[in-house]
Symmetry: C2
Subunit: 355 residues, 2 copies
């Protein structure tokens, strides 16, 4: 089947879908899917749309893409320049959604070697409570279960395997207020926080080998706020620390480690704001091994957190593989090229056996 | 003359005058002064009221008190308990205003050994641009000039001599944004600011002897703010540092020193937010020496900044001397006692020769 993936991506970029406003795009996706003849089963829950085959195959592949984008950055109007499409969501990830819609067209012909579930979901770019996959796993797990999940996040045609876990903690330093002309009457909480910042700056993050992939960990102070008024010795300073850890480590161990890191620097309170599991790369999983091996795909570790970890937590091997440069995601110059879209679709068509 | 200073303080506390809303209290003060017969000359500019004698004496004493208070802290209603008055402004400084109004009554009888100027002014507890003395020096300097200025700020019956200078600078650290899972692509501005906090924490402020008074200096980080989002290596962190310096130092030297302190800690930009001169204790000034010596008053250095420095900058020797415990200023349990009010008035009556 011939697909104009760049044109389809442009259409999708023409329907704004900043997180929280995905309904119009979900409507368009659902309407398009419902026009297809054949064995596709369509379900809609919230702004999540799922299209499935039920052909009785031995294995089921889940293919996923989020409908939402980050807020616009002067790039809300899509713009074509030859075979390049610029605009909000072009790379992250309406190019991937276009590939998924083309695959749905293919699947509607009923010729795949796997059963397939294609999930279009809302709320990936914001707090986890808004995540559509989270809702589907809770309310309709049969719609998202399978033997392998492939997320079409932009990876530039690489397989990005597993993902690191992420933890945010808030470390708070207490003090005693006093007039800043008589600081010896008080205790300066901001000064006390300096020890934690120095510790973060000196921290040497490990690079951890898992399945021969090098997961480079990280630990960063991402926000700090302290102070009462310009004439007052401050009695409170709070630092949010973000820890990224390799899939070799358990969530509990990673949380305990970052809490101790802050406490050892003198923090009076350490509150865990959120903590997400890592996902193993699973390169020995037969389906992942086939995807990589047969098509000789380059593989690298995923350092950021993605919904791959959500599938992994539900016992489903998963990886990221999609069109578009991941370094351009969330930037004003986000864009995607026709050649990358076509290559991604061709590979997934071959893997699913729909051609 | 017999004055019920505690009752008068209670009356004044009954007229709210949080900074910016001093007009009603200025009206009451002006009305009371205008009922007095005799040689008092009354002027009103904004919410500032000045009462002067012009008896042709050899020297002129300026006595000053600010009309405004800090915001209420559950203590807006004055409350008498025996010979103690509790409530917002009781110590800072409506007790002092009551003493000034009693002195005005005395001066109206025309028997002082000095000419006197009594200044009731607005906007002392807020940014300098609102300060009534600042306006009077700019618009009507003849109303505030004299040979000695006494500010009736609460000093508990001590002479608080001179005052330290105060400087606020904002030290900003730059960085380069990156995803917090790939911090090696960026530079963390919050981490960089840690060096300044450590430097502030380690700083050993000097105690400087001036006229045998020990001015204990200070340097404190009073606010800090940094961060972009929880997943972003931050590219900016700003620290406000407050420096308090002894009157031995010039303003320019003190500013240069604190700017260099921040720059040496790696700050990329250091902006001077405000910089106020110190005031020398001037203990050898004949009028100050007489005030202290004849009445055997205890003397200590003023560590915070007061309008004493404004008079000093205009070449007028000045000191703080007033009723009320300075440690209670700006606290919920602010209060003043009758004995302190009476003692302050008696001393100033004797010094001015009005009894």
């Amino acid at each position: 089947m011939n697909h104009d993936l760049l044109g389809l991506t442009e259409e999708l970029c023409g329907i704004p879908s900043v997180s929280g406003t995905e309904a119009a795009l979900a409507d368009a996706v659902e309407a398009r899917l419902r026009t297809r003849e054949g064995p596709l089963l369509i379900e809609r829950i919230g702004a999540n749309v799922v299209a499935r085959t039920d052909l009785g195959r031995d294995a089921r592949i889940v293919l996923g893409g989020h409908l939402d984008t980050v807020p616009a950055n002067g790039n809300e109007a899509p713009r074509r320049a030859g075979d390049v499409l610029h605009g909000l969501g072009a790379a992250d990830m309406k190019g991937g959604l276009a590939v998924l819609l083309a695959l749905a067209d293919d699947l509607a012909r009923g010729r795949a070697r796997f059963d397939a579930t294609i999930v279009f979901y809302e709320g990936e770019e914001v707090a986890d409570e808004h995540n559509g996959l989270r809702r589907l796993f809770a309310e309709a797990p049969q719609l998202v279960r399978g033997d392998l999940a492939i997320l079409l996040e932009p990876t530039g045609g690489w397989v990005e395997a597993g993902c690191q876990g992420t933890i945010h903690v808030r470390a708070t330093f207490d003090g005693v207020r006093a007039h800043s002309a008589r600081p010896w009457m008080g205790t300066n909480a901001i000064h006390r926080a300096g020890a934690l910042l120095e510790r973060c700056a000196r921290f040497e993050a490990a690079t951890v080998d898992v399945d021969s992939l090098a997961y480079r960990e990280a630990l960063q102070a991402v926000t700090i706020v302290g102070g009462v008024a310009n004439n007052v010795v401050p009695d409170r300073c709070a630092v949010v620390v973000n820890r990224r850890y390799a899939p070799s480590r358990s969530l509990d161990d990673a949380v305990a480690e970052v809490v101790a890191f802050c406490a050892d620097a003198g923090a009076d309170h350490v509150e865990v704001l959120n903590a997400s599991r890592a996902a193993p790369p699973n390169l020995t999983n037969p389906l992942i091994a086939e995807l990589i091996g047969v098509y000789d795909l380059p593989v690298r570790p995923k350092l950021g957190w993605t919904d791959v970890a959500r599938f992994a937590a539900h016992g489903i091997a998963a990886c990221n593989f999609g069109p578009g440069d991941p370094e351009l995601a969330h930037t004003a110059d986000e864009r995607v090229e026709r050649v990358g879209l076509d290559a991604c679709l061709a590979l997934l068509e071959a893997f699913l056996g729909v051609v």
